[in-house]
């Protein structure tokens, strides 16, 4: 068989073939490499300053700002009482290897920080831009390690991006010693300080001084552990006592760097009204005392602190955080005297506040009480009316007895319990008769969910003075300790200390009251190793507030606000590593006594 194709035929077809081939090959390119449209594909971000900044911004949002975001921060010490939630594990001593409280173990966050630092090594961004961001991320990673060290002691020290596809046994990591972690944090922060800008604003951004502030805090922590803890598990928990002095010294140096930077000053615009001046530190945005903060705008970024903690009448929920009577009584009298308040019907006071009139003005800036003028009204937390001509309630007798008390009972047109009182009993009412004032924005009445805009202060200058004071007194340097502790006492308006009156306890007391409800107290008790005495074997008390109707005056009677006796066991000075984490990584060892 033969074929005989004419030339004409081929010529005619050629043009078709060419057209077809052009179409085919033109369309081949790029079809298989489609960038995603619903997410950002890898490599583009590291050479773009805005995208890189956005990555860092995300890391900021994930910093563990222990405080405003916590709904049950109130359990931890003698400040407050609320036996519900995870905090009850701490108040009742039921923390165990399978039941952790206050967990924070976030190696995902650490990986994301380290990944960033790794990417910056090859980024083509300008070095000043890179340095600032690398400094911020080193700070964030150090902060994360600090928060984890506080809980667990020594933890695996991971400062490289581990290849997840490497043999699993290679990925298992031992716990480093607590000392190694503390040293790592200190070194990292020194590196960060070299990278970061010394411009102190805006307050939400990490700068050189932020790094010093954390360094001071972390080194003070390490110093306390060295001084007060026992080294166990070959140093995985506990720091050798020999290192204490070094860490205290480092803390003093770092804190003084902040103090002496000239970038910050103690907030003091109302020196005549010490209580209000103190209260405004926490509601006056971007004030000169703030070193590092997490800001909220009340619209896009909000929290619920006010909703949960303002008195019942002023918030939709309210009064979760209730200061205890024990805590109130630890406040010094402003004049240095030691006169305690008098309980019972024998002592009538014009209003609730009169009971505490002699106290440190910071108490009124921190706690709300019967008769406090607040928002558009007055706090009414009395929980009974005494109708008798002479006050007749026998403190300790069955309540109400001779008193009138009930959510719907009236006496001569007056409700027998105040709207902010502990009656009717519910989680939304104070359990002690007190509620917190610090951080609550008094301009907002009936605050709704997700509308609060108060700034959470992570570091402020007062803490730096207190670090200097504590580190010095612990190392026996009396003069600088006195100078530092009097800075905050002076601003607070209470009697100043001198070399003869200063003690470790008074420095700690000053720290407790200056920094009350700012997320320090529980951890301070742990690092001083006194939690097992302060938080164990005690029953937290509140105060009955009784209106003597005839005189329109008040008298007061302590009562047990908590139905149980606090129990804090020694192993709780460290969180458990937990069985789950050990199963996941057999090289981890559990903390002592769990």
């Amino acid at each position: 068989m033969s074929f005989n194709i004419s030339k004409k035929h081929i010529m005619k077809n050629k043009s078709y073939i060419i057209c077809l081939l052009i179409i085919i090959f033109q369309s081949c390119t790029g079809v298989l490499d489609k960038p995603p449209l619903d997410t950002i594909a890898g490599d583009v971000i590291w050479n773009d300053a805005n995208l890189t900044r956005a990555y860092v911004t995300n890391l900021y949002t994930r910093i563990n700002f222990y405080g405003l975001d916590m709904s049950d921060q109130c359990e931890d010490d003698d400040e407050a009482t609320n036996p519900s939630g995870g905090s009850s594990n701490i108040t009742t001593g039921t923390v165990s290897a399978t039941n952790e409280a206050r967990a924070y173990w976030d190696y995902t966050f650490i990986r994301d920080c380290t990944f960033f630092l790794q990417q910056m090594a090859t980024s083509t961004l300008a070095s000043d831009v890179k340095n600032q961001m690398m400094g911020e991320v080193r700070f964030i990673r150090a902060f994360t390690y600090y928060e984890m060290m506080k809980r667990y002691g020594g933890i695996p020290l991971v400062d490289v991006v581990i290849d997840p596809y490497a043999p699993v046994s290679d990925q298992y990591t031992k716990r480093a010693t607590e000392d190694a972690i503390a040293t790592f944090i200190d070194t990292e922060l020194t590196t960060a300080e070299g990278l970061l800008s010394d411009v102190a604003t805006p307050r939400g951004k990490i700068n050189k001084w932020t790094a010093y502030a954390l360094q001071a805090r972390s080194d003070l922590w390490a110093a306390s552990i060295a001084k007060y803890s026992t080294v166990q598990l070959n140093g995985i928990v506990g720091i050798p006592a020999a290192n204490a002095a070094t860490y205290y010294a480092k803390a003093i140096v770092a804190a003084n760097m902040v103090i002496n930077s000239g970038k910050y000053s103690l907030y003091n615009p109302q020196p005549a009204n010490k209580s209000e001046n103190y209260r405004h530190i926490f509601v006056d945005k971007e004030n000169s005392e703030i070193i590092f903060e997490k800001a909220y705008d009340g619209v896009n970024l909000t929290h619920n602190y006010d909703v949960r903690n303002a008195p019942t009448e002023f918030a939709t929920r309210g009064a979760i955080l209730d200061p205890t009577l024990q805590f109130m009584l630890t406040y010094e009298n402003a004049d240095g005297s030691a006169t305690p308040p008098i309980w019972g019907p024998s002592a009538l006071y014009a209003n609730g506040w009169a009971l505490w009139a002699k106290k440190d003005p910071r108490l009124l800036g921190t706690v709300m009480f019967q008769g406090d003028a607040w928002s558009i009204g007055t706090i009414n937390s009395y929980d009974a009316i005494d109708p008798n001509p002479t006050p007749s309630y026998n403190v300790g007798a069955t309540f109400p007895g001779v008193l009138i008390s009930g959510g719907t009972l009236f006496y001569q047109g007056v409700l027998s319990v105040g709207k902010d009182s502990k009656y009717p009993i519910s989680v939304d009412n104070t359990l002690t008769g007190f509620t917190t004032k610090k951080y609550i924005d008094g301009t907002k009445y009936k605050t709704g969910e997700n509308l609060c805009s108060t700034t959470w202060i992570a570091f402020r200058l007062a803490e730096m003075y207190l670090i200097v004071a504590e580190a010095n007194i612990e190392t026996g340097n009396i003069a600088p300790a006195v100078a530092a502790v009097n800075v905050t006492r002076n601003r607070a308006g209470i009697s100043l200390l001198d070399a003869s009156s200063i003690t470790v306890d008074r420095v700690r007391s000053e720290r407790t009251h200056e920094l009350a409800f700012e997320g320090h107290r529980y951890w301070d008790l742990r690092r001083w190793r006194i939690a097992q005495t302060v938080m164990s074997g005690v029953q937290m008390q509140g105060l009955h507030i009784i209106l003597h109707f005839a005189s329109q005056q008040y008298y007061f009677a302590p009562f047990n606000a908590e139905t149980f006796i606090r129990n804090y066991t020694p192993q709780m000075n460290y969180n458990p590593i937990t069985a789950t984490r050990i199963a996941n990584n057999p090289k981890l060892v559990e903390n002592p006594l769990y």
């Binding site: 995603p36 995300n58 990925q171």
Partner: protein, 1138 residues
């Protein structure tokens, strides 16, 4: 006498084959032909290929003629023909496209003019559908006097006086003989020979003769489907084809996917419509009357040409094309009444109150209802104590549905066309008639011969859906809290729906479904979807038997959805004081408008080159091609809320709290296609297929894959030993295939890329409150991700016996899936700070069998057929990562390797406790020596005999909820103008866990209450209770108490045999009776055919399940209590052809 006709190119596929160009006349056709001493039949075949002419001649006409030599270049057709005929010494006669070759000397053209012919017989030949059949050979039996029907099926044959019988024959049809008597007009209907040995089947990127198939392919012809249209084409396939599993999971009108569809139990198949990959949604929305045929490619041999997407099989859908004929207009219209196939039966209010009291009594609590109140419920005279039948108030018995279509089909040699328009209208079963689903379909398929070698193929489809429904969804979707059906399943009969004012719906229980189903109360949702699908292709005939094709395809799917939510108040009515108060609002309690737009664009291109040659007895064909497709989509949505004015546009709403969002996606694929076919004498068949496929879902290194397959076939019936010894065997073919397939659709996009999503906001400067957005790394990428690999084996036997009266096919298949994406159980330590993504490592296998049998015959003028198919499949897990088993029990319970994947684990049961002694001596169920176990609780069997019931006592008590066995039986009868058909369809080897339907089975499940289904009246009722007669030994279901207690009671809370119900069913899927008016009545009106019919779908069901349709998908909704049940239909319709 046997006539030998060359193959009739009548199928639509013709358009893809050889097309020659014709002018108005015969003489304008030109062709080039070169043969040297060739066999005359080869020459004729070659001419047929190059033109549209068909030669017809008797076997022996060329006896003694020599070899033919011709050499023409662009010569006139007539010239060529003359030359060939002269060399062979034959005459020719041209009738339309047929060229009849006659012996020169002996054969005389019959002519009316001849004196010996006394009469002329005329008539029309049609097929079963009433379409005229051109090209049918009509012979006076016993003579050589014959003719061939024309395009209109008409013939005119002068016959000699004394001719008694006319014989009609046509390839693919059964021969027919008609006694003439004194007739002068003879109209004949030809019946297809069922095997259609010459039938051409659509395969991947081409067509093939059925006899030459070596793969496992099932075809369904449109002729079986279209007379009674269904809203959903996939539904009408159910039961018709072995290995094709179709379940109607839901009857909801609108955009829900109603059908679960898979092949051999594998999962979602690839759907290809007219050569372009398509979606399941497109498939469901096809206008049924536009469909010409389905081909289901089941094994590797037939599917591997689709590469990495073909692992679960491929469904090829071909729509109708134009044919050479006068315009043929078809109008069909169908009116249906939908009804729920199952309506749960609830107790009345009195019974419900008694049951509630009984629950309290069992619990030892005071009765909820006093005797007086129960009496009032019984009397039903006090409106405050009604007996509300929520189902009857919310749901009607029937809802209408209308489907109408108009199509024109026809064409000339130059232009062939098929154009159709369809309209579909459907209402929901809700009594509040606020749901209107309208679908408009337009399709045009046009083939234009540009030159004699080049054809342009155009296909344009648009479908527009306009859906309007109440705001509250009928069925609960993923992540939604409730729906109309949820509320409907939870309303109490003793709660009134309305007080005296019909405009004020009462709040009751979870919500008032009567009110919620009304747009006036809740608002509405409006979905508009426009799909446009355009295809342009060229078919180009090249020398050497080559044919080139190109296809470009553009697809756009644009969805515009709008949600308008009204704050419909819900009222409380005090029947004593006659006062209405608003006690709540439907939904969020404020107005809301949401607009949502999603737009999908796909573009494909395909280039193929086909080559077909015959070398003596060796037949060869080959195909190579390239394909590329690009897909993308983008969506956005915007919301505003708390409208001050009743204007439901976004712009009219407050900007406070307005929200919007949007994103998109894209992907691309490329594939190189190849196929080689060889057969020797049509007896020994071999095929190789392969595809090189790449997808943007995978990284460069693992992107390209090669998917080869090979298959062989042996047509035993062509062997002489069969032909000689077993003449009743008309076809017997053994075939086997082996090959590799892939499946990439379990992979989501970008899994190999490190991606970053917008995440978190932060304020650096508290004074300005300027918000900064963060970005965060997504999950760890898997740089090695690739498709699942599948190795598929299939062995099959096709047979056709007794002149195609009995036909059948059997297949056994096995498929091994490897590299299936799985989660690695070995977790990496969390200090790594990441979790491993899924990786390709798991292995599963499937096996199964399929059998089809069909019988067709005609007795006493009755045409009938009966057929059936049955298929079975099951899947086993071969390897997945498993953690170490701590003991033999946990190994027995949790080991998956080597196990069937559908095993259902639970406790065996031994009835209910009837005496306290039984409880005391029974194995410990509650861990408290049965202290909390009550009379009427379930006796769980202590499988391991350790005296206590623990998880270790679970065993395999049933199978999963997807049927492993499916079958269909169909019957047709035709007598004179009547036709009748019936399709039964069934499934088996699966179980329903009724615990998945707590709304139906858990007493007082919902808050605050739940009405009880009648089956629970058969619960255990202890003796001595004051509320209901004791029902102890007869009781089927456990004792019940308060809802919370029931939920905690192992009798209700544990998976056990008690709640497992065999899902097997058989149902009358379709039944139809039609009548075609006699031609004599209608032809004077110019109507070719007019058929009326009545039919029904899902009219009868036999199943152990009560209150639940056996086809619903228990995975489709979170708890399958609140589904919109599948609907059946009664239909009447008409189909008219002009």
């Amino acid at each position: 006498m046997r006539l030998r006709l060359r193959k009739m190119k009548l199928t639509v596929l013709l358009t893809f084959l050889v097309i020659a160009t014709f002018g108005n006349g015969f003489s304008q056709v030109t062709l080039s032909l070169h043969f040297n001493k060739a066999n005359v039949q080869d020459v004729l075949q070659s001419i047929e290929k190059k033109t549209e002419y068909i030669f017809m001649y008797k076997d022996d006409i060329f006896h003694g003629s020599k070899a033919v030599s011709i050499d023409f270049e662009d010569a006139k057709f007539e010239e060529v023909l003359k030359s060939v005929c002269e060399q062979c010494n034959v005459d020719y006669e041209v009738r339309d496209r047929q060229i009849i070759l006659k012996e020169k000397a002996d054969f005389r053209v019959p002519s009316v003019m001849q004196q010996t012919q006394k009469r002329e017989i005329t008539g029309i030949v049609r097929d079963l559908k009433g379409l005229p059949l051109p090209g049918v050979t009509v012979l006076a039996k016993g003579t050589t006097n014959g003719t061939i029907t024309d395009v209109g099926g008409r013939f005119r044959l002068p016959v000699a006086e004394g001719t008694k019988i006319l014989a009609f024959s046509f390839i693919g049809m059964k021969n027919q003989e008609v006694s003439l008597g004194s007739l002068t007009q003879v109209n004949v209907t030809m019946v297809e020979a069922e095997t259609g040995l010459e039938e051409v089947v659509v395969v991947g990127y081409g067509t093939q003769k059925r006899v030459n198939l070596t793969g496992s392919i099932t075809t369904i012809k449109a002729a079986d489907l279209i007379d009674t249209p269904l809203p959903n084409i996939a539904q009408s396939i159910a039961g018709r084809s072995p290995g094709v599993y179709v379940k109607t999971v839901n009857g909801q009108p609108g955009d829900k996917v109603n059908v679960s569809f898979n092949i051999r139990g594998y999962g979602n198949p690839l759907i290809v419509i007219d050569g372009a990959a398509s979606s399941a949604d497109d498939f469901e929305k096809l206008n049924p009357v536009d469909i010409e045929s389905f081909s289901v490619l089941k094994d590797a041999a037939s599917a591997s040409i689709y590469g990495a997407r073909a692992g679960n099989g491929v469904v090829l859908v071909t729509t109708k094309k134009g044919i050479i004929s006068a315009p043929k207009v078809t109008f069909s219209s169908n009116y249906s009444l939908q009804f729920f196939t199952e309506r749960p039966h609830w107790v009345n209010s009195e019974e419900e109150a008694r049951m509630e009291n009984l629950g309290m009594w069992n619990e030892g609590a005071p009765a909820t209802w006093t005797t007086e109140q129960i009496q009032k419920l019984h009397d039903g005279t006090d409106p405050a104590y009604p007996n509300t039948n929520w189902w009857d108030l919310t749901v009607r018995k029937f809802a209408p549905q209308i489907q109408s279509n108009l199509s024109v089909q026809g064409g000339t040699e130059k232009v062939k066309y098929f154009v159709s328009g369809g309209y579909f209208y459907q209402e929901a079963m809700l009594r509040a008639n606020d749901t209107k689903n309208k679908v408009y379909n337009l399709r045009s398929n046009i083939d234009i011969a540009l030159t004699k070698k080049l054809t342009l193929n155009l296909g344009l489809m648009t479908s527009y859906q306009d859906f309007l429904g109440p705001f509250e969804e009928m069925e609960r979707g993923t992540g939604q809290k409730h729906s109309i059906m949820t509320y409907l399943f939870r309303e109490n009969a003793y709660s009134p729906a309305y007080g005296p004012d019909p405009t004020k719906p009462l709040a009751s229980g979870d919500g008032n479904p009567v009110a919620l189903s009304q747009s006036a109360v809740t608002g509405y949702r409006k979905n508009k979807e426009l799909k446009v699908d355009a295809k342009v292709g060229f078919t180009w005939e090249l020398p050497f038997g080559l044919q080139a094709k190109a296809l470009w395809h553009v697809y756009n799917d644009n969805q515009l959805n709008k949600l308008v939510n009204r704050a419909g108040p819900q009222w409380a009515y005090d029947f004593t004081t006659k006062i209405y108060t608003i006690v709540g609002y439907a939904e969020p309690g404020y107005s809301l408008v949401q607009n949502y737009n999603n737009s999908i664009q796909n573009m494909d291109q395909q280039y193929t080159l086909n080559w077909t040659r015959k070398f003596g007895d060796h037949n060869l064909s080959a195909l190579v091609g390239f394909e590329q497709s690009v897909t993308s989509n983008e969506y956005f949505q915007a919301n505003r809320q708390k409208y001050a004015f009743p204007i439901d546009y976004l712009m009219a709403g407050p900007t406070l709290n307005e929200t919007n969002t949007g994103d998109g996606g894209q992907g691309g694929r490329e594939g190189v296609i190849s196929r080689l076919n060889y057969n020797y004498k049509g007896k020994y068949l071999v095929e190789f297929d392969g595809r090189n496929d790449a997808s943007s879902l995978f990284p460069k290194a693992t992107r390209w894959g090669f998917f080869p397959s090979a298959s062989v076939g042996w047509r035993i019936s062509e062997e002489n030993f069969i032909k000689e010894n077993l003449p009743m065997v008309s076809n017997l073919k053994l075939r086997a295939s082996y090959g590799n397939l892939g499946y990439d659709l379990n992979t989501t996009t970008n899994q190999f890329l490190q991606t970053y999503g917008v995440n978190g906001t932060y304020i650096y400067d508290g004074a300005t409150s300027t918000l900064d957005n963060g970005i965060r790394a997504g999950a760890l990428p898997n740089p090695h991700i690739t498709w699942e690999k599948m190795t598929s084996k299939d062995i099959g036997l096709d047979f056709s016996l007794f002149g195609s009266k009995l036909e059948g096919s059997f297949d056994y298949f096995y498929r091994l899936r490897s590299d299936v994406l799985g989660t690695r159980i070995q977790s990496i330590p969390n200090v790594v700070g990441a979790t491993l993504p899924q990786s390709n490592y798991a292995r599963y296998d499937n096996r199964g069998m399929e059998l089809t049998l069909n019988h067709r015959n005609k007795i006493f003028g009755i045409e009938y057929s009966i057929g059936g198919n049955v298929s079975w499949n099951r899947e086993k897990c071969l390897y997945v990562d498993q953690s170490q088993f701590s003991n033999t029990d946990s190994y027995r319970l949790s080991n998956m390797i080597g196990q069937w994947t559908d095993n259902f684990w639970g406790y065996k049961t031994a009835g209910l406790f009837q005496t306290q002694a039984e409880i005391n001596s029974w194995a410990d169920i509650d861990g408290k020596r049965n202290a909390t176990t009550k009379l009427g609780d379930v006796k769980f069997v202590d499988y391991n005999g350790d005296g206590k019931i623990t998880t270790a006592d679970q065993t395999i008590i049933g199978r999963g909820d997807f049927p492993k066995l499916m079958y269909g039986i169909n019957m047709t009868l035709a007598y004179k103008g009547f036709d009748f058909s019936m399709l039964w369809q069934g499934a088996g080897l699966y179980d329903f866990n009724m615990r998945n339907a707590p709304d139906l089975t858990l007493p007082f499940y919902a808050s605050p209450d739940n009405p009880q289904i009648e089956m629970l009246k058969n619960s255990y009722i202890p003796e001595g209770n004051p509320w209901l007669p004791a029902n102890t030994t007869n009781a089927k279901w456990p004792q019940f108490q308060d809802g919370t207690l029931n939920r905690a009671n192992p009798s209700y809370a544990w998976n056990s045999q008690l709640w497992l119900i065999n899902g097997s069913y058989i149902r009358l899927k379709n039944i139809e009776l039609g009548y075609t008016l006699p031609k004599s009545l209608i032809s004077k009106y110019g109507i070719d055919k007019c058929k009326f019919y009545v039919s029904g779908f899902d009219l009868l069901t036999f199943s152990a399940l009560k209150n639940v349709d056996p086809e619903i998908d228990t995975h489709a909704v979170s708890t399958f209590g609140d589904y919109y049940p599948p609907v059946g239909t009664y239909n009447v319709g008409v189909k008219i052809e002009f």
